[in-house]
Amino acid sequence: MNKKSFGSRIVAAPYIVWAAIFIIVPLVIVAYFAFTDANGAFALSNFAQIGKYKKAFGLSILYAVIATIITLFIAYPMAYFMTKLKISNQRMIMMLIMLPMWMNFLIRTYSWITILANTGLINKFLTWIGIGQVQLINTPGAVILGMVYDFIPYMILPIYTAMSKIDNSLLEAASDLGSNSWSRIRRVIMPLSLPGVISGITMVFVPSVSTFYISQKLGGNKDMLIGDAIEYLFNTGSQYYNVASTLSLILMVLILVCTLIMNRFSDDEEAVVL
């Protein structure tokens, strides 16, 4: 550890105060509520209740995992083909990917309702060609679609960044040593873009697992996710703050554990031989 100068501490002070007020204090409050009962006395009774939310936790993780995997399988080839384009085209596609992110998240989710609804665009088309109406909205598929759509930019961007950093001479070297294009992808591009994949997975999985809005609008409240449960409890009344806080705390710990596992995986990968 190097000693920090007095000046640098002064400069850092406002940020430390900011972090304390808006990050540390709320966390302490959440933890306080999680370990107390409605009267403010220390209690572990909240943890006894989480059994009721097992299904919500399970579904949240399942949906988030599926959404993350789908996102990865769409984003990875896309990022790869982007790096093969002319620089000007790369910029344009990047712009198109970012553009929906400037629009409100709620509006983007709403727009899917009008597309997927029983009288929506897709069903109108299916009816017109004679297939008839298909239940699209209020299904798990719609929820996962919503997650994939909303969070895919967070997967594409880090992967694209990692891939465009790969020196072209490495690909030439691989080709020179006998690698065809698939072998180049497997032996050079994949291992070198792995850090981007790891951060992409984290950035998609974390918001997916804790989302509540997408499932309500596109899932029709049929399957409650953990985010929905927390939101419902906080909205129902102050006597439920404690259980809601406990659920939040557990979700945070779950995410933390997932992230740690991910990072461990990416650290090891450098030593691991493909």
Partner: protein
């Protein structure tokens, strides 16, 4: 020496936009030779190498490998390997896996791979470096890994793109010897690209001097140095005084207002020619004994010899001599017939070979410039 050609480049043209990079290049590369493509930045030498490697397709022309046309054959199917200018080692693999890369692609058995990698690392003096991370190696060590990685595939031709440019002088000299040793030991063809004329002369069986996308001269280092074909070659390889002259007859040339005996023939009577006299081939004598007379305008002591500039009728000669001279001395120049080399006039006539603007500093600056990236 009638060796078979392993690679033939026939009438190769390449342009990037409006810029002609290779302008009708014809080159035969013989089996098992050490051939060097030498030229200034942008002369097309790296492009030529990339065409042989298969990273680049020529606009027109033919690439022949062992008597078969390989136009359009992708680089991964060609029996050549490349050593890249900045080595291009895989950062995610250790030394062993870098060298094993091509062998794994070929799906060799693990024990065969181990045997070859060990042998290759031994060949480049990197025993015991197997587990090392690439980023912990010095430039010279990375260079050796790059060599081991390329030759592990047992290519018939090894292409080397300015592989020593990033090394310091001492290491460069060592690696020149190493590369020569490795080439002899493996008995394969090396195609070496450099802008360093000294490197080209010391290492090569044959040197190809290039400029502006065209081959200026192909020959042994001795041929290139002693019998340059035009003013560009004479100037690029070593130091040269290049003068306008007239061939009065076979073995008789006139320049600087004096008629000299020489060893060249086959020119028209009274043909205008370029005359090359190397600085080390001129003897400084007393003015009355000299064929030409002039005044010393600059003296530099370089250890082995003095490098002096002598003004003779407005043309400044560079002369290397072990006799001490002083600025302002009147001296005579004595030139033996075998010190004179006669060349046909070319597009380069009059551009090179006069030391009137010469200074050490300028020379140094222009060298730095030419070390910048090629193409």
């Amino acid at each position: 020496m009638t060796k078979q050609n392993i690679i033939e480049l026939k009438d190769i043209f390449v342009s990037f936009g409006d810029e002609k990079v290779l302008d009708g290049l014809n080159l035969d590369i013989r089996d098992k030779e050490f051939i060097t493509l030498l030229g200034p930045s942008g002369c097309g030498k790296t492009t030529t190498l990339r065409i042989i490697a298969g990273f680049l397709d020529a606009d027109s022309g033919e690439v022949v490998f062992e008597s078969k046309n390989i136009n359009g054959v992708p680089s991964y199917k060609r029996q050549v390997n490349t050593i890249f200018q900045r080595y291009a080692l895989f950062p995610h693999l250790n030394v062993y896996e870098n060298v094993a890369f091509g062998l794994r692609v070929k799906k060799l058995k693990e024990n065969e791979i181990k045997e070859i990698v060990t042998e290759m690392l031994h060949l480049v003096n990197l025993d015991g470096f197997e587990k090392r991370n690439i980023s912990t190696l010095s430039g010279g060590q990375q260079q050796r890994v790059a060599i081991a990685r390329a030759i592990a595939n047992k290519p018939k031709v090894l292409l080397l793109d300015e592989p020593l440019a990033a090394l310091d002088l001492k290491l460069r000299k060592d690696m020149q010897k190493e590369l020569r040793r490795i080439q002899r030991q493996l008995g394969i063809t090396f195609v070496f690209v450099t802008h360093d004329q000294e490197e080209a002369l010391t290492m090569s069986d044959r040197v190809v001097v290039m400029n502006k996308g065209k081959i200026q001269q192909i020959g042994t280092p001795q041929d290139i140095y002693n019998e340059p074909e035009n003013a560009f070659v004479a100037d690029f390889i070593g130091e040269s005084n290049i003068l306008d002259g007239i061939m009065r007859d076979d073995f008789v040339a006139e320049f600087s207002g004096h008629v000299f005996d020489c060893l060249d023939k086959g020119f028209d009577k009274n043909e205008n020619v370029d005359v090359v006299v190397r600085p080390e081939d001129v003897d400084i004598v007393a003015p009355e004994k000299g064929m030409l007379k002039g005044v010393v305008t600059s003296v530099d002591f370089l250890g082995v010899h003095y490098e002096i500039i002598v003004d003779i009728g407005g043309f400044k000669w560079m002369i290397q001599t072990t006799d001490e001279c002083f600025v302002g001395d009147n001296v005579g120049l004595f030139i033996e017939p075998d010190a004179i080399h006669i060349m046909k006039k070319s597009e380069y006539s009059g551009l090179y070979g006069d030391y009137s603007t010469y200074s050490e500093e300028m020379e140094h600056l222009s060298d730095v410039e030419s070390e910048d990236d090629d193409e």
